[in-house]
Symmetry: C2
Subunit: 296 residues, 2 copies
């Protein structure tokens, strides 16, 4: 498999394990790997992570949405987490051999199919957004199921990107889009002065003139300062560069780096790029990783 896409559909069911299982099972007839299923009862929400080729992930995600449409009734849904539909949000994420543009295309194709075949209004968000005010998920979801259900009929501003100008009777609406892979990366400093961590976070975060694609906060973790980062575009700033900058910032303040942690999963491409950059191996490619051959 040369091209790998990840998809993490979120469903408005976090209590009934049979329904959650049935949604997850819908993916099984396709050549995708279900990496993870998580649910939260008070949120009354679940999310599933599937990976595979763009085509198979496309088919599996549609099958899951179809099952959720059949089994979840939004007119009776209660939960703490904001939501507008049975399938609430479906992000596609490039993992390897796939561009963000291809994921945008995939999300649009899925949006059209969901609108046409399931008769559900679809909003495109993040990289797939057709309007600036739909890039941010919170903006798209404002009013939630109960509010949007009425507003969509009367407010032209709420017209969906695909599908009817009316909520599906039980499934509501769905938000679909593409976003880049996010790497959660923390660097722990050898100081109990939490302000130093906050200061360095301020230096590295993009918003304040730091590294592109880096969000950062300073935290107190077990009494020590931590710079906690989200790398939202590892093609711009990868783990090696983020580490280097935090280290440089710490050294200027007379503080050492204790260690770092990559939280959760990381695509092989990010790893390959980090190593290639560190040892100046410009030509080093993922295809040289022996294990990659095992799934191709």
């Amino acid at each position: 498999m040369k091209q790998i896409v990840e998809c993490i559909p979120n469903f408005s069911e976090g209590k009934d394990k049979i329904i959650i299982q049935k949604i997850a099972d819908s993916a099984k007839e396709f050549d995708v790997k279900l990496l993870d299923t998580e649910w939260n009862e008070s949120h009354n929400r679940s999310l599933m992570t599937i990976v595979g080729s763009p085509e198979e992930v496309f088919k599996a995600s549609f099958a899951m949405i179809k099952t959720a449409t059949q089994l979840i009734d939004m007119t009776k849904h209660k939960g703490e987490h904001p939501r507008i539909g049975a399938t609430d949000v479906v992000p596609f994420v490039p993992v390897s051999g796939v561009s963000i543009e291809e994921c945008v295309q995939l999300s649009k194709k899925l949006g059209q199919k969901v609108a046409t075949e399931l008769n559900i209004p679809v909003y495109l968000y993040e990289e797939s957004a057709q309007r600036e005010d739909r890039k941010n998920l919170a903006d798209v979801r404002r009013g939630e199921y109960e509010g949007l259900k009425e507003e969509i009929k009367t407010n032209p501003d709420k017209k969906p990107d695909y599908g009817p100008k009316e909520f599906h009777p039980t499934a509501g609406a769905v938000v679909i889009g593409a976003r880049k892979y996010l790497i959660a990366f923390n660097v722990n400093l050898d100081t109990k002065d939490i302000e130093i961590g906050k200061k360095i976070a301020g230096i590295v975060r993009e918003k304040d003139g730091g590294l592109p694609g880096v969000k950062a906060l300073g935290f107190d973790v077990d009494g020590y300062a931590q710079v906690s980062m989200n790398l939202v575009d590892y093609h711009k700033t990868n783990i090696d560069k983020a580490f280097e900058e935090v280290k440089k910032g710490a050294e200027k303040l007379g503080v050492k780096v204790k260690n770092s942690e990559i939280y959760g999963m990381i695509p092989l491409e990010a790893l390959t790029m980090a190593v290639g950059n560190t040892i100046k191996a410009d030509g080093f490619k993922m295809d040289q990783v022996l294990e990659k051959k095992l799934y191709e």
Copy 2:
């Protein structure tokens, strides 16, 4: 698949593509991946690289040896490369989740099976060697097919580790063993002074008091100095450390590193360890690499 072993059996056939294909095909009924088949006509020799779980690689390698035993006649074999049998040498190499000790066990198990079921004398070499003078393949193979065929009968020193004290009439003998994964790694220097490359090779190579598990030579590549290394034990010295030492040596001589190249394949574990070390992510594990999930 948690455990991955590589096996690279070498066969004394480098001309007849049908025989080479039939040997390769023997691996197909097992759950292994044939990564590569190479042959050389003047050597009259071929080698095949298979990877998979220890159990499947064991079965596939035996099937290949059996086919080679049936199809290759050593009494008629001519070739430039030293060899003692139809299947000449079979190394097992740990790739991930497997220790070198487990590969030694695998090689012994295969040796016993080959001896018992195919009636071929087996010599254990490298990490599997039972005697110091059988560690080195060249030593085991001395005399080659024609010489050893006679010597095995009379010289007690040539008694095989398993099997008969007599060559198989057409397949001769076979050398089996385990060795660690070898990473071929070159660092190119920004100098036309080839002697500087040789000097740095002398600094980093284990034999002359350098880094453990590093073999190194200085070469002239396109008019520039290159330090060409074999990292024979990346648990001792990995690419990041080797790069760092060459860079340090170069800087002392007032020379910069142009770039580096990883030649051929590298196990995911080596990559993960290199990244983890560079960014001090002590807890970083292969299991966090997303693609790894695709072949498990």
